[in-house]
Subunit: 226 residues, 2 copies
């Protein structure tokens, strides 16, 4: 969606502008380094500069934009360090969570995970990147909930935002087939009651997820910052 339609009931104007810009940034429609201005966005949205300014302040607070006085507001470049830190944190946390899942295995969960894997395969076959990203997140969320720590997923999801931008910007590079196989290996280890195996499969999965990062950074250096 590259246009915005402001409605005067429900969410505030500033919230609507934030949601619009936030979605466009995460989907890679507003590329890292691109320049916006309050006046320009206000014109597009048919509102005053004020709520646009407020949306910018919020986006800046989450690291997605950078305001340079007198110059403009720039879409934040993807921080390689932030992506790497998020990966390391996810590996540590999700390997603890998978051990908790294994210790209290619910067979209905296995059936649900199998259904999710099937949906992932289908999304991959029709090359629906958006759906695949959503299903991937859903898989990990299900595991966090099964571990009794659904709230932790909210935190991890926040950390993933730069990673999700990366995936949208470079949609073709990620090997969805391999990700699905790795998800499958995690589920299989759970099925066999192999807690160590499940942890190792999760660690492998989250370690490999960034194998292509150096290549990506080389192909689009202007999108990245340390």
């Amino acid at each position: 969606m590259d246009h915005i339609n402001i409605v005067t009931s429900g969410n505030s104007t500033a919230q609507q502008v934030y949601d619009w810009l936030h979605g466009r940034i995460l989907r890679g429609e507003l590329e890292p380094g691109a320049r916006l201005s309050e006046t320009e966005i206000a014109g597009q949205a048919g509102v005053s500069r004020q709520p646009v300014r407020e949306a910018f302040i919020r986006l800046t607070a989450t690291g997605l934009t950078e305001v340079r006085p007198q110059r403009g507001t720039f879409i934040g470049r993807i921080s390689i360090n932030a992506v790497l830190s998020a990966r390391l944190i996810r590996e540590a946390v999700e390997s603890d969570l998978i051990r908790m899942v294994s210790a209290n295995l619910d067979y209905e969960l296995l059936a649900r995970l199998d259904r999710q894997l099937a949906a992932q395969r289908e999304a991959s076959e029709r090359q629906d990147v958006e759906a695949f990203i959503t299903l991937d997140d859903q898989f990990h969320h299900s595991l966090a909930v099964a571990a009794g720590h659904g709230d932790v997923w909210d935190v991890l999801e926040g950390l993933k935002s730069q990673m999700n931008r990366l995936r949208h910007i470079t949609a073709r590079i990620f090997d969805h087939q391999k990700l699905i196989e790795q998800h499958g290996a995690i589920v299989q280890a759970l099925r066999e009651g192999d807690a160590d195996g499940a942890e190792q499969a999760m660690r492998l999965h989250l370690r490999e997820v960034l194998n292509d990062l150096p290549e990506i950074a080389r192909s689009k250096p202007e999108f990245f910052t340390k």
Copy 2:
């Protein structure tokens, strides 16, 4: 510091107001549930509502305040779930980090950690809560840096903000002696090259750090939210 002095050079007015309010919230001077208004803070700071509004938007983006239209801006209650999630994430991540430290032990680090422990004892003896919190954070930061992942500490520090509010609000309850002993056990396991022991000591430390949370929540229920 309960007053603010706005200077017209250097940081923007909105930034100064944000820093002032942010510090007061973290130190517990503005208690959870307390009500502020743009008009009131603008009056105190001698500026228009506009930069105050901007500071509120930023504070709200970080979860420290909540804006209720027509009603006021309220200092956020401490989310028990957020504190618990942060603890779980810290345990997972810092146990991975301590294994990395142990695998590449630098003896100069041990000397530095010993010095930090001595400083913690001293701060505890003179009951300097502020200094103790700073030194506690420094200890953990040193370990993250030693593991080669100083950036990860920045993320963990962000997660700790609710925990740090808790510590300021309930300064007397945390047993600093026990925390220092636990830090000491971590350093000793490192000295002995015992990676498993270091991980277990770190897990125990980060697991016990919230033992008093139920009691605290009972004694001041109005400060907390789920």
